[in-house]
Amino acid sequence: MPDAQRQTVSTSPRRRFLMRGESAIASAGLTVMALMVCVMIGSVWWAQRTQRTAVREARERQVNAAAQLLAQSSELLLAEGELTAVRRMVADAARDNHFEICRIVLPDGQILASAQPSESKLRDLPPEWDAHSAPQNNLLASQNQWPLLIPGRGPAVLSISGGDTYVAGPNDLAAGVLAIGSVALFALLVLYRRMRFSMRGLGAVREALSALAGGESQPEALLISADLGPEVQAWNGLIRETERIRRADLAEKAREAVGRRQENKGELEAACDAISQGIILIDDQCRVRYANGAATVFLSSKREALVGGDISKFLQVPDVLADVRAIASGSSRRRSTHDVERREEGSESGPVAGVLRFSVRPVRREDVGSAMITIEDITQQRVAEESRNRFVAQATHELRTPLTNIRLYIETAIDEGEENPATRAKCLNIINGETRRLERIVGEMLSVAEIEAGSFELRYDDVRAESLFEDLKAEFEPQAAEKNISLTFHLPPKFPPMQGDRDKITLAVHNLIANSLKYTPTGGRVDVSVEFSNQQLAIQVKDTGIGISEEEQDKVFDRFYRAKDTRVSKITGTGLGLTLAREVVRLHGGDIHVDSKLDHGSTFTLTIPTQKKAA
């Protein structure tokens, strides 16, 4: 098979099969990517959280250290009354450590020193203040406070808050991570597409391997579309090579088998064994000197047993044996031929299994007598001959009836025609009818000959079905009336357009109706129904005739077959009508079948497409 053709064979179902694998790869890839995006988002969140915690803790440590230093220094300086130095130190500490609020507050709420100089209203350091004065809550709320105790003066509070040192904010971090992630994702996407392209081929190969493991052995089903990559091309090459080796191996085995069968055989023996007629050589003692292969088959014996044995042990045909003995003994040189019916194994009176023709010939030898028997299977010839004889007898009978009628009515017309024009007209009418009958019989015979030769064909044209049935009606109604049979046509009000071979369709329907009328006794009924549905013409011919036995229903369409019923044998017929009807219908793309019950009538149903099928 050419490669291109294999390719075509392999693509359609296989392609669909492979697409499932490809989508699995795509789904897996997308899942991995979605997972990575989730991991990235999670990482960003976790990093932000960790960083915030670290910054907060570092800031707290920084503020705590600065506050303790400031508190200790302030206590010492304030004890010395160095308010200005304290205020400068507070301002420096607030600036250096980015404090928003950094102030020393007395218990009564007065601000002793502050990072904002305007907040400090006290001009001088009070000599002593009340230790129990409540601090102003509005100033101390939400501030980190460290208590001060200024020796000799009283307690105070150092309040510090705000002014966080700048660190990379969460949004900046997320943006950075997302930017890096996007680049990574893009790179991953590109990588994924490249991997997916190469994975398509691998996936297809994997699917093909699964099919192979599942028992698929047809190379056409294992080949993959070559555009899926180099792996697939390599796979296809492997499959083709395997197939080539398999076929070569097959051929080699076959050649070996043939060789084994042909060896050890002499040319002459091989030639004799190639003859389909049996050949047996008999010596003067009626012993078998030689038997070819066909003879062993016809005599149902092995060659080893046959050769050297007495022929009478293997051949139980008295007439043949008598001739063989006569020739072998030299008392006769007369050639003879005997057709012998061979019955089934072990049966004396069973059905005939075949007919063998035994020809006995003397073999010219000077010293002793010798005979040769040739055996030929003529069963099929005999069957064909019987069939032919039956057909000739039927055909002769069929032809003789109209010919006799024609001759009789011509004589009547000649004798009485001049004096009686009405009689002449009647005679001519009958002669015309019989001539048409003859024409039909001869036509059927010719058609059968065409079927045999394979040249039976249709001539398609538009068919006016209503006209076809009107003609049949006109033809058969007088016959039915003559036989007192009720013939009814159930025709549709309108016939759709139809294509076919009008003459041959007419012939088929004609044969069905003619058969029904022929095999329906007087007083019976024949109904012809016509229906159109699904672009098919269905014709049903139903009668109340003698019917057909179940075992014969399959055979009535065989050529020359006539039912075994004695009532049938009394009615003339060639046994060709139904054969032709079925052949015509099948050539049109339809079929015909019979439903019948013995003694209750038959129904033949014929279906033909109304339009010619496209070739």
């Binding site: 097959l250 051929a251 076959a254 050649r255 043939v258 389909s276 066909a294 061979r342 089934e344 299977d377």
Partner: protein, 111 residues
């Protein structure tokens, strides 16, 4: 394996249905050999319902052909599809069988 039989005149037409492969070939062979013995070789194998054959089937068919050739006859096949005919051609076995387009032509060959 389903093998239908149809008598046409004096000739038996055997019609195996399905692929002739390992597992069914022995049954097919025995059936054909039985028919061969009963009909003295007047039979035809209708291959129209056989999609493909394997090497064992070819061996089996050669066995039948061998048995027939003992009587100077040849295995008559008919209506084999393209795949089967191609296998027979590739294995150089086509010449060991007679092939006909249809059963009727094969049956007529016995005349």
């Amino acid at each position: 394996m389903k093998i239908s039989e149809q008598q046409q005149g004096a000739v038996m037409v055997l019609k195996p249905e399905g692929p002739l492969v390992e597992g069914v070939i022995e049954e097919f062979k025995q059936r054909v050999l039985k028919t061969l013995a009963a009909s003295m070789g007047r039979f035809v194998v209708d291959m129209s319902a056989v999609p493909f054959v394997d090497s064992l089937a070819l061996e089996g068919m050669m066995d039948v052909s061998d048995e027939l050739s003992k009587g100077g006859q040849v295995l008559r096949l008919c209506a084999a599809n393209k795949t089967v005919r191609e296998v027979l051609e590739l294995t150089d076995l086509a010449s060991h069988f007679d092939h006909f387009d249809d059963a009727n032509a094969a049956v007529r060959s016995f005349l």
